[in-house]
Symmetry: D2
Subunit: 134 residues, 4 copies
């Protein structure tokens, strides 16, 4: 099955800029998180509810390429895709472009472990696997 | 004249939470900034363009009351009002409530100096004063 | 009794700058928090242990004046003072200056409620009141 | 030649935690930046001065593994290594462990382009190449 996909938009905040005049690099990980929040909402179980149900998805690995600039107040369009990665991990792919012209800004993936409420590794619950479209 | 007003919404990001389970306090200043960005856009000259025109509005004073909690993914509604404060400063009032039920989260003001491109205090340009509705 | 006082130093991080070339305003609240962490450590019960003991001190009110600029990598010296504010709240005063020449950067206070583990207001425990020097 | 290395320490700030109880993932990129700041200072030309000299090193690629938890106020020890990567890019390797027991927290690299004051790619200046130990 193809990965599940969602598109969301955001604007670069002033607080996200740095003295080089664009966005500071770590903000991309915060934007990726917004994409994960929205795709889980679209799937029907927002991540906030996943944690309430006892499933935590901390980031264990990420790779990011910064391929273009973006400035304060620029509108960005972020595409997020999600799929299981093996049996116990979840992989999100993220791509950020300028909403105005599609010019690339950043792309990368984040890999997440599945933890239970006690912080230990678990096999993802059945409801989650079903949600991920497997 | 009554102050000019704008309403915008936002969701608490995961990156904005802290270990106490709500949002970390400094995020409120970042949200207030989003409110300022949107009200200047509504007025017709987004703050990003103000800086391009050579007007900078750094924060010189703020007062904030934190009156209620908000959690990750809660939708918040922020009201921003702006008015000149004397002849050379601008004062924004900000109020944040839960979008769902109007319960108060935080409120406060931010006071801003008017600086020119060289970082020195200036009298606000005529176009800006007109924009502020004076 | 005079308030208890502690001095700590920090450097402006690149991630704390913004496109105006100095530090972004919300960082001051994060630096104030560092000052609170250090003064509680000096008092003998680091704030991390206070939370372990079931005492939480969320921010309920703050007032900040931004009185001078500071740039990336500037070394700053922060003075923190703490005292009870009435019977159930704690007030920290913070002052940040340039380490090199004492030039003022920012100053303000933060007012904190005393909460128990369930998030409800409590009277500060005896050990805490003793620690605060009352 | 072996890469140049520097070790620095930092404590997890309260503002860097999230509701899962550890540090929020994007903070690692901010800590890596602190490591780069310190290693350039040790090399004799702090990064702040590099920008003054007209050399900018924006992040173009990063890979991070999050291998262990760290909590508020934990003291962390960060090792930073730097070397040229080909003729026009600089690669930093970062490793963060608990200062108390050496337990791993995060590691990764950041790859940086060399830009001139106009934001265009440049060959690194001779003083910089010499500094990097080539």
């Amino acid at each position: 099955m193809p990965p599940i996909e969602n598109i969301t938009t955001l604007r670069v905040r002033y607080s996200e800029t740095d003295q080089m005049g664009g966005f500071y690099n770590s903000r991309v990980l915060e934007w990726f998180e917004c994409g994960r929040t929205e795709i889980t909402r679209k799937l029907g179980v927002p991540y906030s509810e996943m944690e309430t149900r006892g499933l935590f998805l901390p980031l264990v690995e990420t790779h990011i390429e910064f391929v273009g600039r973006a400035r304060y107040d620029d509108e960005l369009r972020m595409t997020t895709r999600v799929a299981m990665f093996g049996r116990a991990r979840v992989r999100f792919e993220h791509e950020i472009v300028h909403a105005a012209n599609g010019a690339a800004v950043a792309r990368g993936y984040t890999l997440h472990a599945c933890l239970g409420p006690d912080g230990k590794l678990i096999r993802p619950p059945a409801w989650f696997v079903a949600l991920m479209g497997l």
